[in-house]
Symmetry: C2
Subunit: 321 residues, 2 copies
């Protein structure tokens, strides 16, 4: 059994290889550049852990983990185009460095290469892995579309926002674990519990992310807070505030969303606090985190084997903020 | 055995179904819209013919044909974004109608759905079909990148242009035939000859396309000629002219490429004629067409079975222009 840290190091080393042909350099340099920006490699590590929960890590888990990380990077390249983002991990995005057209193609070809890795695995579970992978890929695209739709909407209902987060963020964590579990020989019940563990963990993570952007300690979070508020981003906090605020607070929030006064962040935060949005968000995060852990407990293997997954959950969901 | 016309009608009917979920409508309406624009469906029909050359059409050939047509449409949606094209088949492109971001995602998800169709076929040849499909998909992306690179270059060598056309246009025709042949149970030699038939046919088609845009009869071609010249597009004709023109002609061509005089088309055409580019292009087309037919002849099945493929070749490559 490997720890979260060990598996991350191993995967990072494994992944640090040539995934693309040399030519045309004008296309593949963009892919190499983006992968070189690094990343936490959480999703592929979850795939490896999903395997190791049931059996020694099989070669196929490395192929699927690689496919998952390539898929994730493909979505980031295309998301950056859609968001017109200039920076990713502190460096230029692909479309800023190579132009939108090359970035578009570099993403496309990365998705194809992800499928090439999938296609290397054992035929016995090839179809079920490709099925899960493709279903998840579609869902991630759907989540991104909903996210863009919500940006243009005045009011978003909490359930709809939750669904969007599930699609855009959670299902890939969930599917990574499940695909690993299949390679490890898990039965369907265990696969499903692992999937639910990943899905709920992802939601808890996003609630925490929204919470920290508003109420986090800048020193611990590592960035100035209030970014989402300044950008009028739909978040768990804003949506809940809109749902629970009284008429006067709702009016003020509505006005603050349409203007950019200097004290916007403080005023929105005050309304959040007055509506107990901070408490509510902490509870919501805990709710999904508990739900995740419940499903992990339900997985029928010795508790000791679950240690790396509890470790990764603890890494994603911090209790001290 | 079905004729080209019959297979086209059958595929069109088969393809005219819901390929995408209903929700989110904001994403999938864009996909449905684009598929609704129609198309000649040449590639999927070639897949069906590749199968029928060796055996009755298997259910799997319909799945692969559907995947091929979805892949082709995915490339068109993304190409239209890259080219900033407003019209496709006389109607609005996806990015004009739904915005670039949705068009990007609509393309992405269409590629994923193409893989979903592939994943339905018999496990015995699933891996080899996905391999060919993915290899071809990468090549098509590479061809599009080269095409964009060439636009920015002053001089393009004929061999490089040929390679670009092969990747961007020909390999998908070739792979469609080959995948069909695999489903039909063809041996490797026959698969390879069919692939070469498709590849050379694709090149001959592109030479003809470039030729007709310059020297075609507007009534027969169905559009005004000289569009490529007006847009300074690299074509077989322009590249050959630059390679064979004398110093004075080269100077004039160079100047014409940098300016837009009213008689630009006529003057360029005159240089083309003076350099015998028209004769050369007709011969080049014939060369690749003959090469294609040679490989078709090499396929070891009764000549009568090849009739639909000869029909489709004749449809693509007209002799009377």
């Amino acid at each position: 059994m490997f720890s979260f840290k060990e598996l991350t190091a191993q995967f990072t080393k494994h992944f640090n290889t040539a995934h693309f042909p040399k030519e045309p350099q004008s296309l593949y340099a963009a892919d190499d550049y983006f992968l070189g920006l690094g990343g936490k490699r959480i999703r592929p590590v979850m795939c490896l852990m999903g395997n190791e929960l049931f059996d020694e890590i099989h070669d196929d888990a490395w192929q699927v983990a690689t496919a998952i990380e390539l898929f994730h990077n493909f979505t980031l390249i295309h998301d950056d185009i859609m968001d017109a983002a200039a920076l990713r991990r502190g460096l230029e995005t692909v479309h800023f460095k190579y132009g939108s057209n090359t970035a578009l193609l570099a993403g496309d070809v990365m998705l194809v290469v992800a499928y090439e890795y999938l296609n290397k695995i054992n035929t016995s579970y090839l179809k079920s892995i490709i099925n899960i992978f493709s279903k998840t890929a579609k869902e991630v695209c759907e989540g991104q579309q909903l996210d863009m739709d919500f940006e243009k909407m005045q009011n978003v209902v909490l359930d709809d926002y939750l669904k969007m987060i599930e699609l855009k963020t959670s299902v890939l964590l969930a599917a990574s674990l499940k695909m690993g579990a299949i390679i490890g020989g898990a039965g369907e019940g265990n696969q499903e519990n692992l999937y639910q563990f990943g899905k709920n963990l992802g939601i808890a993570f996003q609630v925490q992310d929204d919470y920290l952007d508003a109420f986090g300690d800048p020193d611990k979070v590592g960035k100035t807070v209030g970014g989402d508020i300044r950008q009028n981003k739909k978040t768990f906090l804003l949506i809940h505030a809109m749902e629970t605020a009284n008429a006067q607070q709702k009016d003020e929030l509505g006005q603050l969303l349409q203007t950019n006064p200097e004290n916007k962040v403080e005023r929105v935060l005050q309304i959040f606090r007055d509506c107990n949005v901070d408490d509510w968000a902490r509870q919501l995060k805990q709710h999904y985190f508990d739900k995740a852990l419940f499903h992990l407990e339900e997985v029928a293997v010795l508790s000791a084997r679950k240690k790396p997954l509890i470790e990764i959950a603890g890494f994603l969901i911090q209790r001290d903020y």
